[in-house]
């Protein structure tokens, strides 16, 4: 938006509209493409390497959509033990009962899976929809 700052020095109606305006189409807007629900979209930055095998590295920016219902296989930002953590979600039922169980699965062998009991003080904070990497 900074470009408008400079253009708007004076509020004066003047001049003819450019005839090219009639032929303008919208340029690709990544905000619109990557942010499906603006009211529910937040961003996070990856710290550490717990999802390295899924191609998610330290410094990557996560696009997090809180409006989405978490589903099996989603990559999600979860709140565990006082911090935000990035994991894959695995939904299942406990053997011999119909209690739902959720497992948080890292994409790095050096990190353990985390079993989550239903009703514990645990939170899927939001589902990750895009990972943005800086290449150069």
């Amino acid at each position: 938006m900074a470009e408008y700052d400079d253009k708007i020095q004076a509020f004066i109606h003047a001049g003819f509209p450019s005839p090219a305006n009639d032929y303008m189409t919208q340029a690709i807007d990544l905000n619109k493409e990557l942010v499906r629900h603006p009211a529910a979209t937040f961003y996070g930055r990856v710290v550490g390497d717990s999802m390295i095998d899924a191609g998610v590295e330290e410094g990557d920016i996560l696009v997090i959509d809180k409006s989405l219902e978490p589903q099996d296989g989603d990559m999600a930002v979860c709140f565990v033990d006082g911090e935000f953590t990035l994991k894959h979600l695995r939904f299942g039922t406990e053997p011999g009962s119909d209690r739902r169980r959720l497992t948080l699965v890292p994409a790095n062998d050096r990190y353990p899976c985390i079993e989550v009991e239903e009703g514990t003080d645990f939170k899927v904070w939001g589902v990750v929809t895009y990972v943005i990497k800086k290449i150069r």
Binding site: M1, D29, P38, A39, A40, F42, R45, L62, V77, F84
Partner: protein
């Protein structure tokens, strides 16, 4: 019917979105300069901490680890407020943003049987999408909707939605509402009414109209009517406003940002002029825009943004700058806007403006005030004078905020860290 949507303990709830560990724990948010408590979680209310308690009186709780305190993070609250309002605006034909954390929904023409489900859906949606809890009160008048929302918030059984749709429910609620909690009565008038034996909203509503008309001013009479289910408080009612709104629907839809900025700066200038007229000043400036909801073939977008001034102002320069700052955060290319407006709220008397201890901008402000006076005299001659350059000021410079949380949603360097 009106629905009042009220965000519960809004500033505290905003902080908790990014600090889920603070759910269920005592939390307060402090005013400008960390002066006093302006938002409390239910747990800190239960500790006996009152609104506007000076921070030094509760600091020992913080030092002892029993209370978490935050400096105001207006950028965060403004952003989350805009998200809440856009969700509400999408759900109903008309919404009136009343303050940073409250909005009236106009439910005219809706099937009454569908209203409870709609409200429940909105409570869940705002909680899931944005992360803040809201309460909704539905009633035939705004004053009653306010009371209903209070019930929705206070009593767990309502699960956040209280529909006051029958005379029986209304009577019950009014008899449980102390007179000083009624919207439009206020602290000054309440003792006078209590002296006359009026303790509850119900006592007041049951007085004969003639008695109220003879003994009270016209605003109080309006409140009496509203409590009895007669709609009196309309949009932009001037007498007891806590906010001033200037908005217009455009004859043609506008998508050019320059044109929109021009309109919005005019709206903001009008708000500033109205503030000066009545000798008041505002510390919140909300900019909103709506696309045309009746054009289903077009993309829809109903954004709003609230910018908080560190010190209440009524000069054109500051109000317009704040409105344009809000505009810049919400404007998106590719939408055709049908309506836009500016709301100034958190209004105080201009004489009673609390300047913060570190108001380095005071000299600049005096200059702005002088310019505004010149503009007023010029504009009253029938022409419209506009400011040439309008840039967002940095009002936060030099303000004490030792406990401010990161700018999670407005600064890419401050987004949450995920491990």
């Amino acid at each position: 019917m009106y629905a009042l949507v009220d965000c519960n303990n809004f500033f505290v709830s905003c902080e908790r979105v990014f600090r889920p560990d603070l759910e269920g724990k005592p939390v307060v948010v402090l005013s400008n300069n960390d002066g006093c408590v302006v938002s409390r979680s239910n747990e800190s209310k239960a500790m006996g901490i009152k609104m506007c308690t000076p921070f030094y009186q509760v600091k020992h709780f913080v030092d002892g680890g029993r209370l978490t305190a935050f400096s105001s993070n207006y950028a965060l609250y403004g952003d989350l407020s805009g998200r809440v309002m856009s969700i509400l605006a999408e759900a109903v034909p008309e919404i009136e943003i009343y303050s940073i954390d409250e909005a009236f929904l106009h439910l005219e023409g809706m099937d009454p049987s569908g209203i409870p489900a709609l409200c429940r859906k909105l409570v869940d949606k705002v909680r899931t999408w944005v992360g803040v809890p809201v309460s909704i009160g539905v009633a035939p008048t705004k004053t009653l909707a306010k009371i209903a929302s209070h019930f929705a918030k206070t009593y767990k059984g309502y699960k956040g939605v209280c529909i006051m749709d029958t005379p029986e429910k209304r009577c019950k609620a009014l008899s449980l509402t102390p007179i000083d909690e009624v919207w439009g009565i206020g602290r000054r008038l309440a003792p006078k009414l209590m002296d006359r034996g009026i303790r509850t909203a119900s006592d007041f509503a049951q007085r004969p109209r003639e008695w109220v008309a003879a003994n009270m001013n016209v605003n109080v009479l309006r409140t009496w009517e509203e409590l009895n289910g007669v709609r009196c408080v309309e949009e932009e009612m001037l007498e007891r406003r806590q906010s001033i709104c200037t908005s217009r629907s455009f004859a043609d839809m506008i998508e050019d940002p320059h044109e929109l900025q021009l309109r919005i700066s005019d709206f903001a200038a009008m708000c500033a002029s109205k503030l000066r007229e009545e000798g008041s000043a505002a510390s919140q400036v909300t900019t909103f825009m709506y696309t045309n909801r009746f054009r289903e073939d077009l993309d829809q977008y109903y954004p709003s943004a609230t910018v908080c001034l560190e010190v209440a102002a009524n000069n054109t320069q500051e109000i317009v700058s704040a409105a344009l700052k809000g505009f810049r955060t919400i404007f998106r290319e590719g939408y055709k806007y049908k309506k836009a407006g500016v709301i100034v709220s958190e209004i105080t008397s201009a004489d009673a403006i609390q300047t913060s201890m570190f108001d380095f901008e005071e000299e600049k402000r005096r200059k702005h005030d002088r310019i505004s006076k010149v503009m007023d005299s010029f504009n009253s001659s029938g022409s419209l004078l506009r400011l040439g350059t309008q840039r967002p000021g940095h009002y936060a410079d030099g303000i004490r905020s030792d406990f401010r949380s990161p700018l999670y949603t407005t600064d890419l360097d401050d987004i949450i860290e995920v491990r």
